[in-house]
Every structure is written in structure tokens, then in C-alpha cells.
């Protein structure tokens, strides 16, 4: 079971959370300006990368707040968690090890 770092509560077991998929995909300001393909891209298409991935998490059985976290999908280690609206942090270790 993962230990998920909630930026508000600290590390808590995975069962308290709901993962909301890839982070940093903002709802388009004017959906009507998008053609069908672009809208489908926003709605359905997500990256599924091997390595560091930014994800949305909801501490549903805790503080009830959404946040973003960087998780390595290979090792499952969390590298950072940060509040909604903040940019994805740069990782000093990312790339070189």
C-alpha cells in the first residue's frame, strides 16, 4: 500500500485517497473554440509514461482536498506533492541519477 504525501496532512495510507489521473490538464477556457478532435484530446487522451508522472490526488478520507504529486510509475516512489495551482516542481534528481 502506497504512503501518499498529502501536503496538508502528511503521509497517509493509500486507502484514504482517490487518484484523479494526470495533472496539469486545465479545462479549456472556451470549450466551444475547440473542434471535436481537440475536445476529445482534452477529455480522453492522457499520457501514461514510465517514470516521473504528475498526478492529481484527492485526500477523500482525510482533509478532503485535491493536490498534485509527482510519482515515479516504475518505483512508485513519490518525489513531491504540492498544492493545486502550483506549477510542477523541477526535480534536482530528475534525469540524472
Amino acid at each position: 500500500m502506497l504512503l501518499v504525501p498529502c501536503p496538508y496532512c502528511g503521509p497517509r495510507p493509500e486507502v484514504e485517497f482517490h487518484c484523479g489521473g494526470e495533472a496539469h490538464i486545465a479545462r479549456p477556457a472556451d470549450p466551444n473554440a475547440l473542434d471535436d478532435a481537440q475536445w476529445a484530446e482534452y477529455l480522453f487522451v492522457r499520457t501514461s509514461n514510465k517514470g516521473v508522472h504528475a498526478e492529481r490526488w484527492l485526500h477523500s478520507h482525510g482533509c478532503g482536498r485535491w493536490f498534485n504529486a509527482l510519482r515515479n510509475t516504475v518505483s512508485d516512489s513519490f518525489l513531491a506533492s504540492y498544492e493545486m495551482g502550483q506549477p510542477r516542481p523541477a526535480l534536482p534528481t530528475e534525469g540524472g541519477k
Partner: protein
């Protein structure tokens, strides 16, 4: 039964505490400290089971949790019978009833043993090859037969009478295994106050040291050293000792799960104790000290009862004071069996050593075998005996020159040793990378991924001094101290072996049955066959032959199979790879996993504030998500149909009272509340005046309906949102998601108030008459309080949010009152309502009433692919709003296709067939199969108001099919229906205003 094979002295058993249990109905004597296996051996019992596939007679192979053969059913009384327990780990307890498995009619005479003669047919992949054709044989013949023959033991058929609990724990260092490495690690780790948990699967801690006869550590005997170490650890408040506790799973982020057997070893356990305790431990650091498993040797008929691992022979003699045989032949390819042979000789037994290595390759271990005959450079080509070993057939051999003349060594026990395999299971489960060490012919822990370290034999370190030092360093390092200590252990541990896959033989290798996996009956021949048939990947060979897939997970067989595969493929072992280790390390009871989550505690049951009233008034209940809701209120002699008909009639003709408290309620508050609802719902909210309600469909961004409910505006900045009973959490989560992540600029709070407010629905022409006397501060007159209005006032002196809404089609009120006052208000209304024949109704009548009026239920008329337009509710979707959740998706061309499934009504042409919900609909029942399905029935009832069946359905292009005849599946074939509008009662909606539409009701 006499303990004919109990040695006169020695062992760690308590001879002052005799006990007796039964095996297949016969009494077996033993002592406290025995395992069932050691007691059976002490009583001269060698045959303990039949093998899975060939039903071959089998005995006890090991002395620990790696046992593949000796699987017994344990019966501790009603609800406490359990199959497939390893005799080598069950502690002997007085009164136990044990029986062997997998035979009929008895262990000695087993009909299934005919499989053994059929073995040329029952080769690897037999099931895959045989049970493929013809297809029609599968259901009737193959599957039932395979099921009957599959699996060992018989599952219990009564509920488990025991109790199981879960416990969470944190510690600085978890040490798994209390052998020499684990004890040293725990001592070092706990020196400076770090919280340490030491878990060991055995009843007694000490591991291999408990079977040492001559070893000394720092000048004291191994047994004394263990006792001193345990006293020290027990004296430290920061140490938790968990014997009888197996760490079976190593999961992400240092999450290790242990199962502790609390009472199985007690003859009369305290009923307050659970049988087992599951520990979820999150240690900062883990020390894995799980030891190593001895490998058997592979030769023809290497599975006869009496053949066991050499170290197991040693353990039964030294630890349990049992002679597994009187004449013992040790067959080995390495050094460690010499210590076993020496101990057997010291116990007064007749001992011979057969060593596959040439004389010149035997190392210093030879000194241990003083006075013992050693047949060096010999192979084992077979064994004799039926249900018990009588001899080992050996022959000299020279590499490249072949096998010489055979001779039979008479014996009643053989101790075989094919070398050692470090127990890397937990390390591998932690996702650590294994590396292969050719010098010890084994995989050992390589690169760590989690915060763990291995020490001792599980890391390939076999000398006792080195094991202790490594354990100490690991424990100290895990505690952050990086200390080291040297231990003086004597004599030197005999180590090293010459890997042997299958022993050389002069028999036709195609005919030799040399077992690798004893539990799944996999032979060396099966591995060769798998390779011949094209399976080369180790994972494929494993699945095709089932090697290593039994409940012992191949602890004694994986390396043998892997080594053989590498030989056949002529590839080095690292290139062949190894199979993946997965939890659990040893079998875990379902009870331990489930813990207290059974019966009433399986899932929480939610009851609304009026639940007790419904119970007292004889309601039948149904489950709606976690809620228990009153389903109908039968009177004496009524079935459900009669009760629902009466309840519906009361609502249509007078007044019904209904507990709607389970409806989800969310209070949406803040200066931007209206703007928020305007974005999250497809209809318009900005202009809704305070005091008014509006029905809202909620869409997801994909344009499909996911919930619905009435929303009341209480003030410019305050909305009372209702949701479906099951949808409340997901609607709140949906709102929160948008508020927190997409529109954090909106100043809005969404709060669940479902349990704050009880909701009493009064529905029917007399609803207002019942309500009137109790309400203060609200004018209930029609013009003052029209349909879809909301008022705040008091009822029976308590605050209420009173809504004039209807889910039945009748004039209706939903009375929100604080939950604590619900029963008082309900009872006041119910008492006063008697003069109008007020009738409590349940969810079934509610469903019928709303279907008659054509109101949808989310999840029944919708399935996640339905739009408002599909339901004929397109008018609710704002055409003028620039944006709302789901708007862009509704503009996709597919959402406007004419053949989308649309909501319609169906009338059974025969006037009496009540359709099945979910039944498929076709245009032409004579068309060829597979037919074109037009849609399905979503709701179907016998309408009490109309006296005939009604149904709602989603049908392709449904609204263009009005009046068409279609065909619906029933269990007896197709029935014919006519497509109608999806409203059956009061299509003009007059009755909510109290207008009686008698004609429309009985059309």
C-alpha cells in the same frame, strides 16, 4: 501409539508434558514442543499423504514451512476444520484431530493411485492438450471432472467459528526471522532505544540454532546463546517479540504484512483471544533474515516416504529427540549433510554417506564423518520400498565414463541434500533486483529498492560467525548506527556444494521419474518435455509444467527446475532468469485477511432517523447503496404486490407518507454559489429567485447524465441541493473537484448535510390537509406556496425547510426537519393523518408511482451513456449559456444522431405481461441470430393505478416509433409490445396542483 522412534534423551521437547492427538483416527503420542510432523515420526509414521496428481505415497520431506508433501486437514471442532496445513508447522496440541488428504477410500489403499500407472499419459500440459475438443464436452464432462479432481483437501462447508483481528504498527526496525542473523540484528538494532519488532514464523525463536548440537558462540552453546539473546530482547521495552508470526508480504513503501497465529497452539484458548492477528507494519527499515532452504536431490523415485532433507533429519534428531529412521543414508552433493550425518551417528543411529562428489572434492567436512562409511563419487539411481523406504540404489560414476555397478543400501530413512537456496522471497517482493552468484549456485539480493537489507543465509552467507556479524551489522545499520561486532562461533560451519540438477543414471532418462516439485508432481522429464514442445521462457515452463505453482510456491523445487532448464537450453542461469516471487510467502487464512469485516461488519449499514419507526410498523427493507430503506409496509396477509397496490392507491386518492431522508443533501453557500451551479448544471440558475426550486440534471464533462435532484434557492447566496440516495458522495466529490481545481476563484463552500436533515414526504390530494395544522410561519395556500416553491419556517415547533415538490405526480411536500426531531414530526403527521387514511409507503411504491408519471431514476433509465435529449429532457439544457460542464460534449455530432436510444413507454399487447427490466428489444423476432438489438427495458411494473403493466425503455430512434410494434425477450420467448409516450398517468401534470384527473388514471 508408542513413540518407537523417540530418542531416549535430548531435544527441546518437554518430556514432562505428554500429549495425544489423532491421525486418521489413531492416537499419536507426543510432547509439548513437538510439531505434528515430529510426533508422527516419533510414532514411526512415515506415510502421511498422497500426492496431488499421481496419488503417490508421500512422507515428510522437511521440518519447516517449505514442506510440500505433508499437508493435513486439522479439525479443532465445529467451524474450526481447515485443510492443507503443513504437518511441519502445526504445533502438536492435545486433542487435535488430523487426517491425511487426497485419497479414497483410505491413505493406505487409494484408488487414485492408478494415475501413477497412467503417468506416461499424464505428462506436462496434459490438461491443455486433452480437454480442448470437442467444445461440447467441456461443460458436461471435462470441467466437472477436473473440478472434482483439482485441489488438495476439502474446503470447510460451515462458517469459521473463530475471530480474527487486524493491527497496525509502526517501528524503526522490523527484523524478519529470529535465527542467528535475525537475533544478532535485533540485538544491535535495539541497543539504543529504537523501536524494534522481531517476527519469526516458528513457535520458538532461534531458527537453525535450535538444531545445533556442537556449535558454540562466544564460548557458550548455541542454545545458551539463543536463551541469553531472547532474555536480553525481552527485557528491552522498545522490543516487540512476535513468535508464530510470518511476514508474508512486502508491499510498497515499506509496508510489510505479518500474520500471527495466536491460539492454534493452545489446547483451551482464552475465548477472548482471536485465532489470528494480521499486522500491517510500516517500519522505517527492514532487516530480512529469513535463512535458506535446502534443495532435495533429483533421482528416480526420490519421493518415497522416509526420504527427507538432510538438515531436516538433523533437526528432528537434535531439536525434537526423534530418529526419523534407524538406518539412515545421507545422499549429498555438498558439505552440510556431513554435520547431519555426524549428529545422527552421535544419536546412535546407523549412518552411511553417499557423496556425488569425487573423493578429491570433499573438503574439511570429511573430518565430521569420522567412523562413517563414505561412498564418494557415487550417484543415486533409485530407491526401493512401497509406502515406506527400504533402500537406496546407488552406483559409482565418473564424469564422462558413465555409471558403474549398482548396489542397494538398505535403510529406512534417507537424508538428501542438493545444496542451499537463499530465501529471497521478501527481498524480491520488495522489488529488489536479484543477482546470480555462480560460486554458491544461487540468486541473492542485489540492488535494493526499498529501505531493507538482508543478512545471513538469505543473502548467501552460510558460515555461522559470518552470519552473526552480518546480522549485527544489518541491525545496527538499520538503526542508523553503523556498528560492527565479531562473533566467535565454533566449529567452522561446513559449507559448499557441487550443483547437481538430475543425478546421473544408466536408466533411460525418458522413463525415469525424478521429482522436482513434490506438491505438484512435476518431474525432470516434464521440464524436458516442455522445452521440446517449445517452451523456453522460465515463466512459460513454470506455467506449462506447474512447477513451483503449488501452495509451497516451489521453495524446494524452483532452483532445481531452473538449473535443469539452464542445462537443457545450454544457457547460463542468469540468462534463463528466475520466476517472480509474489505474496504470500506461505498460505494465509482467509480469516486473517478479512479480519472483523464479516457479517454485520462487512460493510457499514446506514439507517435514517425514521428507521426504527418503520421497523416497528412491520416494514420490509431493501438495500440502497449502504442504506437500508423501507421497501413496503405489508399488512397481515398481504404480499408485496398487494401492499404496494394499496400504498399506491392511497397516494393517488388520499395521502401517503414516505421517508425520503436518504436523499443526498449538499448545502452550496457563498457569493458565487449561483454562478457555480450555473456552471455545473446544464440549466439556468442565475435568475432562480430565492424561495423557488428547480429540477436539475447533472452531467459529466462527457455530456452524459450522472445524477439528478431538486435544488432549492433559500437565499441569494444559499442553495439546498439534493442528490440521489446513492449519488451523494460522488456529486459532492464532483463539485469539490471543480471548485478546488478548475474554479478556485469562485467563493463557494459545498457541505454535505445529508445526515443533518431528515426528509418526510407527504404526497397525495390530502397532503396539504395533513400538513396545515402543524406549520407556522408559512402560508400553504396554493398561490402563496405553489408547486416547486421552498419556504423556511417551523413545523411542530422545530425548524423546517419545506418544499412543495412531487416525485409521484400528486400534490406533494418534502418536509426537511433536523434529524433529531424527525420522529416527533412524523408521528404528529401520522396521527393526525389517520382521519384521511394516511398510509406509509416504501421505496417500491415510490418507484411505481414515479414510473407511472414518467419520472426517471438515474442508474435505471440512465447508464452513463444517456444524454438529457435521449430522455426527452433536452428542454432543460440551456441554449443560451456559453458554457457548463458537459456542454461541449453535447455538441458532438454523435450526440445528435437520430438513432440514439431514446426513452419511450412500452405497453404489453396482451395487457398482462410484466416485462423483465433489462430485457432486450428487437423489431423482428424472426431475424437471424445474432439479432439487431434496438434497446432494453429500463423500468417495468404492474401499475396499480391503471390496472395493467407499464414499462419504460431506451429504444433506438424511440421517439419516431410511437405506435410501432416491437418484440421483447422473456424467459419463455418474445412478447409483443407497442411503443408509447413515457408517461402513463396525468401527462399534462395537473395533479400536482390538486386537480383530479380521474379519467387519465383509468384510461
Amino acid at each position: 501409539m508408542a513413540q518407537s522412534n523417540r530418542l531416549p534423551s535430548g531435544g527441546r521437547i518437554d518430556r514432562a508434558k505428554p500429549l495425544a492427538f489423532t491421525f486418521n483416527g489413531k492416537s499419536v503420542d507426543g510432547f509439548a514442543g513437538d510439531t505434528v510432523a515430529s510426533a508422527l515420526l516419533a510414532n514411526g509414521i512415515r506415510l502421511v499423504g498422497r500426492s496431488f496428481k499421481y496419488h503417490r505415497p508421500r512422507g515428510i520431506l522437511t521440518h519447516g514451512s517449505d514442506e510440500p508433501n505433508a499437508l493435513l486437514k486439522v479439525d479443532r471442532g465445529p467451524g474450526r476444520a481447515d485443510p492443507n496445513n503443513r504437518a511441519t508447522v502445526i504445533e502438536a496440541v492435545g486433542g487435535l484431530k488430523l487426517s491425511s488428504q487426497n485419497h479414497w477410500p483410505s491413505l493406505e489403499h487409494d484408488i487414485g493411485a492408478v494415475n501413477d500407472r497412467l503417468s506416461p499419459v499424464l505428462v506436462a500440459g496434459f490438461y491443455y492438450k486433452t480437454f480442448m475438443w470437442p467444445r461440447s464436452f467441456w461443460d458436461k464432462l471435462y470441467e466437472p471432472k477436473i473440478r472434482a479432481a483439482a485441489g488438495l483437501g476439502v474446503a470447510p462447508d460451515v462458517p469459521d467459528a473463530d475471530r480474527y483481528v487486524h493491527r497496525n504498527a509502526h517501528c524503526d526496525v522490523l527484523v524478519v526471522g529470529a535465527g542467528p542473523a535475525g537475533l544478532a540484528a535485533a540485538l544491535a538494532a535495539s541497543e539504543n532505544g529504537r523501536r524494534v519488532i522481531l517476527a519469526d514464523e516458528q513457535a520458538e525463536m532461534g531458527g537453525s540454532l535450535l538444531a545445533e548440537r556442537t556449535a558454540t558462540i562466544d564460548g557458550v552453546s548455541a542454545a545458551q546463546w539463543v536463551a541469553h539473546a531472547l532474555t536480553t530482547l525481552a527485557g528491552r521495552a522498545n522490543v516487540t517479540l512476535l513468535p508464530r508470526t510470518t511476514a508474508f508480504g512486502y508491499y510498497n513503501h515499506n509496508h510489510v504484512v505479518l500474520t500471527e497465529r495466536v491460539t492454534d497452539h493452545l489446547e483451551r484458548p482464552d475465548p477472548k483471544l482471536p485465532r489470528e492477528r494480521l499486522w500491517q507494519v510500516r517500519p522505517a527499515e527492514v532487516v530480512i533474515a529469513t535463512g535458506a532452504h535446502e534443495r532435495p536431490l533429483s533421482f528416480a523415485d526420490n519421493d518415497r516416504p522416509g526420504i527427507m532433507l538432510a538438515e531436516s533429519v538433523r533437526t528432528y534428531i537434535n531439536r525434537y529427540g526423534v530418529a526419523p529412521g534407524r538406518r539412515i543414508v545421507f545422499a549429498t552433493n555438498g558439505a552440510s549433510a556431513y554435520a547431519a550425518a555426524a549428529d545422527a551417528k552421535a544419536a546412535g543411529l546407523d549412518v552411511t554417506i553417499v557423496d556425488t562428489r569425487p573423493e578429491s572434492a570433499i573438503g574439511p567436512e570429511k573430518a565430521l564423518a569420522a567412523g562413517i562409511e563414505i561412498l564418494a563419487g557415487h550417484t543415486v539411481v533409485g530407491s526401493t520400498g512401497g509406502k515406506g523406504l527400504t533402500g537406496l540404489i546407488v552406483a559409482p560414476f565418473t564424469a564422462g565414463k558413465g555409471v558403474g555397478a549398482r548396489r542397494t543400501l538398505p535403510c529406512d530413512c534417507a537424508g538428501i541434500s542438493g545444496g542451499w537456496t537463499p530465501s529471497v522471497h521478501l527481498f524480491s517482493q520488495s522489488r529488489g533486483k536479484l543477482i546470480f552468484r555462480a560460486d554458491i549456485d544461487a540468486f541473492v539480493p542485489g540492488i535494493s529498492v526499498q529501505k531493507e537489507r538482508s543478512a545471513g543465509a538469505c543473502k548467501g552467507t552460510y558460515g555461522l560467525s559470518a552470519i552473526l556479524a552480518e546480522g549485527w551489522a544489518a541491525g545496527s545499520g538499520a538503526a542508523g548506527a553503523d556498528g560492527s561486532r565479531l562473533f566467535a562461533a565454533a566449529p567452522a560451519t561446513p559449507t559448499g556444494f557441487a550443483p547437481a540438477r538430475v543425478l546421473p543414471t544408466d536408466d533411460d532418462p525418458k522413463k525415469v521419474r525424478a521429482f522436482l516439485d513434490f506438491q505438484n508432481d512435476v518431474t525432470a522429464k516434464d521440464i524436458r518435455l516442455a522445452v521440446r514442445e517449445g517452451f523456453e521462457s522460465v515463466e512459460h515452463v513454470k506455467r506449462y509444467t506447474t512447477n513451483g505453482m503449488a501452495s509451497d510456491q516451489g521453495k524446494t523445487s524452483n532452483m532445481a527446475a531452473l538449473g535443469l532448464l539452464s542445462e537443457i537450453l545450454e544457457k547460463p542461469i542468469p540468462q534463463v532468469g528466475t520466476t517472480t516471487f509474489r505474496p504470500p510467502y506461505t498460505p494465509v487464512t482467509f480469516g486473517a485477511i478479512i479480519g472483523s469485516a464479516r457479517g454485520q461488519l462487512f460493510d457499514p449499514i446506514r439507517t435514517a432517523p425514521l428507521h426504527e419507526w418503520a421497523v416497528e410498523h412491520g416494514a420490509k427493507f431493501e438495500n440502497v447503496s449502504l442504506w437500508r430503506r423501507a421497501w413496503y409496509f405489508p399488512k397481515a396477509g398481504e404480499d408485496m404486490h398487494a401492499a404496494v397496490a394499496r400504498e399506491c392507491k392511497a397516494v393517488r386518492e388520499s395521502v401517503g407518507i414516505f421517508d425520503a431522508s436518504t436523499l443526498g443533501k449538499i448545502e452550496v453557500k457563498g457569493p458565487d454559489a449561483a454562478e457555480f451551479l450555473n456552471r455545473i448544471y446544464p440549466n439556468a440558475w442565475l435568475k432562480l429567485e430565492p424561495g423557488k426550486c428547480r429540477y436539475g440534471l447533472m452531467l459529466k464533462e462527457d455530456g452524459f447524465i450522472f445524477d439528478d435532484g431538486v435544488v432549492a434557492r433559500l437565499a441569494p447566496d444559499l442553495f439546498h441541493v439534493t442528490t440521489t440516495t446513492g449519488g451523494a458522495p460522488r456529486v459532492l466529490a464532483h463539485m469539490e473537484d471543480y471548485l478546488q481545481t478548475e474554479w478556485p476563484d469562485l467563493n463557494v463552500f459545498a457541505t454535505s448535510t445529508t445526515e443533518e436533515w431528515a426528509v418526510i414526504a407527504l404526497q397525495g390530494p390530502k397532503a396539504r390537509d395533513v400538513l396545515q395544522p402543524f406549520v407556522t410561519g408559512i402560508d400553504l395556500a396554493g398561490e402563496a406556496f405553489p408547486h416547486m416553491a421552498v419556504r423556511v419556517g417551523e413545523i411542530c415547533g422545530v425548524p423546517t425547510r419545506l418544499m412543495r415538490v412531487s416525485f409521484t405526480g400528486e400534490m406533494g411536500f418534502e418536509i426537511n426537519v433536523p434529524a433529531d426531531h424527525a420522529r416527533a414530526v412524523w408521528e404528529a403527521l401520522y396521527d393526525y393523518g389517520q382521519r384521511f387514511g394516511i398510509t406509509p409507503y416504501g421505496t417500491e411504491a415510490m418507484h411505481v408511482l414515479r414510473a407511472e408519471r414518467g419520472f426517471i431514476i438515474v442508474g435505471q433509465e440512465t447508464d452513463g451513456t444517456v444524454t438529457p435529449e435521449d430522455l426527452g429532457l433536452g428542454g432543460m439544457v440551456s441554449k443560451v449559456k456559453r458554457d457548463f460542464v458537459g456542454k461541449r460534449s453535447l455538441a458532438r455530432p454523435d450526440m445528435a444522431l437520430a438513432d440514439r436510444k431514446q426513452l419511450v413507454g412500452l405497453a404489453s399487447l396482451d395487457g398482462r405481461t410484466v416485462l423483465d427490466e433489462g430485457a432486450q428489444i428487437v423489431a423482428d423476432p424472426a431475424q437471424a441470430v445474432p439479432m439487431t438489438m434496438l434497446g432494453h427495458v429500463t423500468s417495468s411494473y404492474l401499475s396499480p393505478s391503471l390496472g395493467h403493466p407499464i414499462a419504460l425503455a431506451l429504444v433506438a430512434g424511440g421517439r419516431t416509433r410511437m405506435g410501432e410494434t416491437l418484440h421483447v425477450t422473456t424467459p419463455a420467448g418474445f412478447t409483443t409490445v407497442k411503443v408509447t409516450a413515457p408517461v402513463f398517468v396525468d401527462p399534462e401534470g395537473k395533479r400536482v396542483n390538486g386537480v383530479q384527473t380521474e379519467g387519465a388514471l383509468h384510461a
